[in-house]
């Protein structure tokens, strides 16, 4: 079985794709059948992914340094060999597990959440395609294959964010997501092209061997840094890093299960995964790695400050995702695949849990989104509330929940590599994370019940994924505990079984508990007046509430520079380009009007001109060069 799963690992992305095709072409009319096919396929993929994981992790040492890889030639030409294949190693099998798990749970959840939606089958088709794209990206053996699936993921996110296409805001958000990630993709494509030109291969395994010997390929370290930074622009767009994070909060315009899928398992972690896959590049290109680390650290902090003041549940969660992704990117920047992937792993559970929980709340509140309109919901929907609290504890990093282990790992790595600044930034961010998460939890589930709300607990199909994810959010971090734990399998370079010193654990926990306590004081027990704090913060509050006006800034750029340039070019087009074209046309037309009178239509007239031309040509040739004329005309001796 395990052998079969590993040899046929391409089935894992193929099955969801098959379900997409089947639903799209055949079973679209039958909602039940469509959902059944979709869920059956993704569950089969999930089982296969578990078998693959067992095979990879069970083999111990064997696949850590050297991945299990096979591929088929896609196309080749001189100097270019592109293959499509499957690359299985601890990182990819972990990702396969996470993606199939979250995708399965989201699909099960959608059974309840999307019940009665007119586009039910379409929704499942898109979810399947989305999962298929992400899984294909995960098993990619080379950058080009990864890029293909990368773009497919982008397409699916466009389709799903714009799922409610009749809503203007959804359409706009879908376009925004697509365009913003396109900007990143362009940089990434440049990076890929550079790699192909310089090293002549895009295969991860081969690149990992030859990139450290970049000098043999005639480039300087500066050029390698440039390539690495170009490549990093893709993840900046996809993983919502500053300054291309603007699309991610808007992506919540899609149905909530989609947000869970985008934010937890697919799409955004693709960027992190790409950097993780190409981490060997950043090990060599250290300047680029610094850029990555600081972009990640800044994004984590920056997004957290925005999340502090947001009032929509999903928007808070979205900024929280941006912030958490910043953590992962920062971990990669400081050179730790272990910490980054660990954070990705645990984050997938608790973020999916919280998004699905938020979906449950929004389902119950019939479209209300403002957290201030909620309150006391724990009484009417206890399962949602308590699973959500588990998610909140996990993301805040309270022992023994999953987030505690992964966050500590990142802090430790940042500190050990000498990034003290980033370390303290991450600690502050952790405190803020705890604060804004628990602010949301207190406002939503605690406090006074509001009379105008008539909440109800969600159906079992929606609760089951919450239970599974809540369980994983508790135990997910424990994989780091055993001797041959997380860091032994998922690593680049030597395994160091580092343990955070006590003071660091104390600091991180203090930050988290402090954040929760402050939130409780302000929004639950009302000991501190949040209005007074808001006033005291003054312009800072305004900045945070308005997301630092970045959207407005981009709009301003669009309106002034892009539109201005457009107007200028429009003028050029109308008066210069069209002027030339129309002038040519007018000239031709007028010339034709004059010259058509030479066409008498009389054959004899034409014959006369023909013979006149003969005479004229002969005379011309003769006067130009008598000898040549004689040769041509055949005279002489």
């Amino acid at each position: 079985m395990i052998e079969f799963a590993m040899q046929k690992a391409w089935l894992i992305p193929f099955l969801p794709f098959l379900s997409f095709v089947l639903i799209g072409l055949i079973t679209k009319r039958s909602e039940k059948l469509s959902a059944f096919i979709s869920i059956a396929c993704i569950l089969t993929s999930f089982v296969l992914a578990i078998l693959v994981a067992v095979g990879i992790f069970g083999a111990g040492e064997e696949f850590i340094e050297k991945s299990f890889e096979y591929s088929a030639r896609w196309f080749s030409m001189p100097g270019l060999e592109i293959s499509m294949g499957v690359k299985l190693d601890p990182v990819s099998s972990m990702m396969l597990f996470v993606v199939t798990l979250v995708a399965s749970l989201v699909q099960i959840y959608s059974l309840g959440y999307m019940h009665g939606d007119p586009g039910f089958s379409r929704f499942f088709a898109y979810l399947s395609l989305f999962a298929a794209s992400m899984l294909g990206l995960v098993i990619a053996t080379n950058l080009l294959q990864m890029f293909v699936f990368w773009e497919l993921v982008g397409l699916c996110s466009y389709l799903l964010i714009g799922y409610y296409y009749f809503k203007v805001s959804a359409r706009e958000a879908a376009k925004k997501a697509f365009m913003t990630t396109r900007i990143g993709d362009f940089g990434m494509l440049l990076g890929i092209l550079f790699l192909q030109i310089v090293f002549g291969t895009l295969n991860f395994t081969e690149l990992a061997e030859i990139v450290p010997k970049y000098a043999d390929y005639g480039i300087t370290l500066g050029t390698l840094n440039l390539i690495a930074i170009l490549l990093f622009i893709g993840p900046v767009g996809k993983s919502g890093q500053f300054p291309l994070h603007v699309w991610l909060p808007d992506a919540m315009e899609g149905p909530t299960p989609v947000s869970a899928l985008i934010h937890a398992a697919t799409m955004v972690v693709a960027g992190v995964y790409l950097v993780g896959r190409t981490l060997f590049l950043y090990k060599t290109a250290t300047t680029a790695a610094e850029v990555v680390a600081y972009v990640g650290g800044f994004t984590a902090f920056f997004a957290a400050t925005i999340a502090l003041t947001q009032i929509e549940m999903k928007r808070i969660l979205a900024y929280s995702t941006v912030s958490q992704l910043g953590y992962m990117i920062m971990a990669l920047g400081v050179g730790s695949l272990t910490a980054s992937m660990f954070q990705l792993f645990t984050h997938a559970f608790f973020k999916a849990l919280m998004f699905l929980g938020a979906g449950s709340v929004l389902h119950a509140m019939h479209g209300k989104v403002n957290v201030w309109d909620f309150g006391g919901l724990r009484k009417k929907m206890p399962y949602t509330a308590w699973t959500f609290v588990i998610g909140g504890l996990a993301i805040a990093g309270i022992w023994p929940f999953a987030g505690f282990y992964s966050k500590d790992e990142i802090l430790l790595e940042a500190f050990n590599t000498g990034h003290t600044g980033l370390f303290w930034l991450a600690v502050i961010t952790a405190a803020m994370t705890a604060f804004y998460m628990w602010r949301m939890i207190f406002l939503t589930f605690f406090g006074e019940e509001k009379a105008e709300n008539h909440p109800h607990e969600s159906p079992f199909s929606m609760l089951l994924p919450l239970f599974v994810l809540a369980f994983l959010s508790v135990v997910g971090g424990w994989v780091a505990l055993p001797e041959h734990g997380w860091g032994y399998y998922i690593r680049l370079g030597e395994h160091e079984a580092g343990h955070a010193p006590a003071w660091m654990i104390a600091t991180a926990t203090t930050a988290a508990v402090g954040g929760i306590a402050l939130a409780a004081a302000m929004y639950w027990k009302k000991i501190i007046s949040y209005e007074a704090v808001g006033k005291a913060a003054g312009p800072l509050y305004t900045l945070s509430f308005n997301k630092y006006f970045i959207d407005e800034f981009y709009l301003w750029i669009n309106h002034t520079i892009v539109d201005g340039l457009g107007r200028l070019l429009y003028w050029v087009d109308i008066y210069v380009v069209d002027g030339i074209v129309n002038g040519l046309g007018f000239f031709t037309k007028e010339a034709g009007a004059v010259l058509r009178h030479t066409q008498t239509g009389r054959l004899q007239n034409y014959a006369l001109i023909l013979f006149a031309a003969v005479v004229v040509l002969v005379l011309y040739m003769y006067f130009k060069s008598p000898a040549a004329a004689m040769i041509v005309l055949g005279g002489g001796n």
């Binding site: 239509g601 009389r602 004899q604 034409y606 006369l608």
Partner: protein
């Protein structure tokens, strides 16, 4: 002494007269006649060359025979066209035919 040149000049004269007729006559039948004159001029050239340049191998005369054949075919088809046009337009005046225009 009459040489090849004399025959060729005769041919040229005949050709030019025929050409003049073909260019200027209004009547389509007259144009056909003029073309016959031009073909005859060609034949004179062929036979004269044959006689003077290759006296024993009279290929030029063979060509002349072919020219006569083609001329006969041309007259037949040409007259048929003239009849077809006449049926349509009730005229053989070439000035009336300007369909090649625009």
């Amino acid at each position: 002494m009459i040489g090849l040149g004399h025959f060729l000049v005769l041919g040229a004269l005949l050709f030019c007269i025929g050409l003049y007729g073909a260019l200027t006559k209004r009547n389509a039948v007259a144009v056909l006649m003029s073309i016959e004159l031009m073909l005859n001029a060609v034949n004179i050239n062929l036979v004269a060359f044959s006689r003077y340049l290759t006296p024993d191998y009279i290929a030029g005369q063979v060509f002349a025979v072919f020219t006569i054949i083609v001329a006969a075919a041309e007259v037949a088809v040409g007259l048929a066209i003239v009849i077809a046009i006449y049926r349509d337009r009730l005229s053989v005046e070439l000035d009336d035919f300007d369909w090649l225009k625009w």
